[in-house]
Amino acid sequence: MPDEEQTIESPVPVARLQHPRAIRWLHWINFPLLLVMIWSGLRIYWAEDVYAFGVGSWQWFVFFPEVVYEKLDLNRHLARGMAFHFSFGWLFVINGVIYTIYLAISREWRHIVPDRRSIPEAKDVVLHDLHLKSDPPPQGRYNAAQRISYTIVLVMAAIVVVSGFAIYKPTQLYPLPLLFGGYQGARLVHFSMTIGISLFFLLHLIQVARAGWGNFRSMVTGYVIETPEPVVAEPEARELDVEEVSS
């Protein structure tokens, strides 16, 4: 630390790069593309909307109640849905592939992919977020719960793309549909992953709102403002610890 002397006297806030430019661009480009894909996908799904939670003939939740289609203008647009889906799909895939390649070669993936200790830490993050635990567990750029959910959503995105291709061209990409137990299996997987991604998206919006302006701004500008702790305070704290231990 070259500024150590200065830090001791008066901590000067600095801005630290949190999100590299490529990640910011790819993240924000993905956002409208994902919306278009979900919207056009639901217009396609409407034509054969067979999925529901339930047992036997008892349906607890139907995907989707008629009112949902009507309110969102998703009914009777199968052809337009397909036209949008199979056009914007390429942009969605290209953006996702560039993102994946970038994560791999920039080694940014190390901030996102969880490690062995992330699972217990993620539990503590959740407890902390629910105000059931006072101290958050230690974290890197992202906390353990973020790392796990960002990785899961990436995996879901990969599955949604591969299953999508299996539905789109089942003959020409045969035996790809077999990976999902056939054409109808691919359709179910594709739909389930979309629901999963949508749930992630909702949770993401809530967490972004909770995290506040500085966090949101960092996804636009790339930087977070940090006020370095004055280093003079630390030795005192250490001494206290030592005293307590020795007692």
Partner: protein
């Protein structure tokens, strides 16, 4: 007491994660303000740009019901897949897997016809009548079984056992007369339902002029006495109750393509 002692200083894990969090380069607050302004202006421009692009797509002149740029993309998609998929075939299934096929479309076959009176007109690219055939002409061709997953553009599918003649066998009779004609159009006798096919797809060994389903002659509602069947295009292309087979140099009109669907509807 010894069990509850607080850790002396940060743990290795904390140090590791802190190092990760602090791995990014830092800039001064003045520089941050400058870059922030630039980023937010870029972001606002991006939002406006995306909005304008969306408007541009939505306000395009339409081509058969969808914005021109989307129609062009569907056409380009077809080029991509046709080039990737020279000669690919859909998997075929054991007959025991076949189930009855549901009745979906009735356009062009609403009224029952007298099957004894039925004939199919075969027309050349200049509209000339090449032949008028009854069912015996199709029964005389080599008969094939085709057990495939029939896929509806709506999303359902079922394994169907078709029986009939390959279009490619039928085509032998006219190959010399019509030459290298790129398209075939088919229509119901009343002309209300019509489909267009590219010749390559028509000549695919899995494109069948079907006479039977599960070894029984077709029902009227499934397109008796003769219909198209293939696993390689959506069901909207599998015209029921064929009344006309028309070789064509122009891309033939297609009922559902005129109603916003992809003309090829290939799988």
């Amino acid at each position: 007491m010894t069990d509850e002692q607080p850790p002396a200083g940060p743990s290795d894990r904390e140090l590791e994660l802190r190092a990760q969090a602090e791995s990014g380069p830092t800039i001064s607050i003045d520089e941050f303000r400058r870059r922030s302004r630039r980023s937010f202006i870029t972001g606002a421009a991006g939002v406006v740009g995306a909005g304008l692009a969306w408007r541009w797509v939505q306000t395009q002149p339409t081509d058969d019901g969808i914005p021109q740029v989307l129609r062009n993309t569907l056409e380009r998609n077809e080029t991509v897949w046709t080039n990737l998929s020279q000669g690919r075939s859909a998997p075929e299934h054991p007959r025991s897997k076949a189930t009855p096929i549901q009745v979906n479309g009735r356009i062009g076959i609403r009224e029952e016809i007298d099957l004894a009176d039925w004939t199919v007109r075969v027309e050349g690219p200049d509209g000339e009548l090449l032949d008028e055939l009854d069912i015996t002409a199709f029964e005389a061709l080599p008969q094939r079984d085709l057990v495939i997953e029939h896929k509806c553009i709506e999303g359902w599918s079922s394994i169907v056992h078709w029986g009939g003649a390959r279009f490619s066998d039928f085509h032998q009779r006219y190959a010399d007369q019509v030459g290298d004609v790129p398209y075939v159009g088919l229509a119901t006798p009343d002309g209300r339902y019509y489909v267009g096919w590219d010749m390559e797809s028509m000549m695919h060994p899995q494109t069948l002029l079907a006479l039977r389903e599960r070894d029984e002659p077709l029902d009227q509602e499934h397109g008796a006495p003769l219909r198209l069947a293939t696993p390689n295009k959506y069901g909207i292309k599998c015209l029921k109750r064929i009344g006309v087979i028309r070789y064509s140099n122009e891309r033939p009109p297609d009922y559902w393509a005129e109603r916003s669907y992809d003309w090829y509807a290939g799988l």
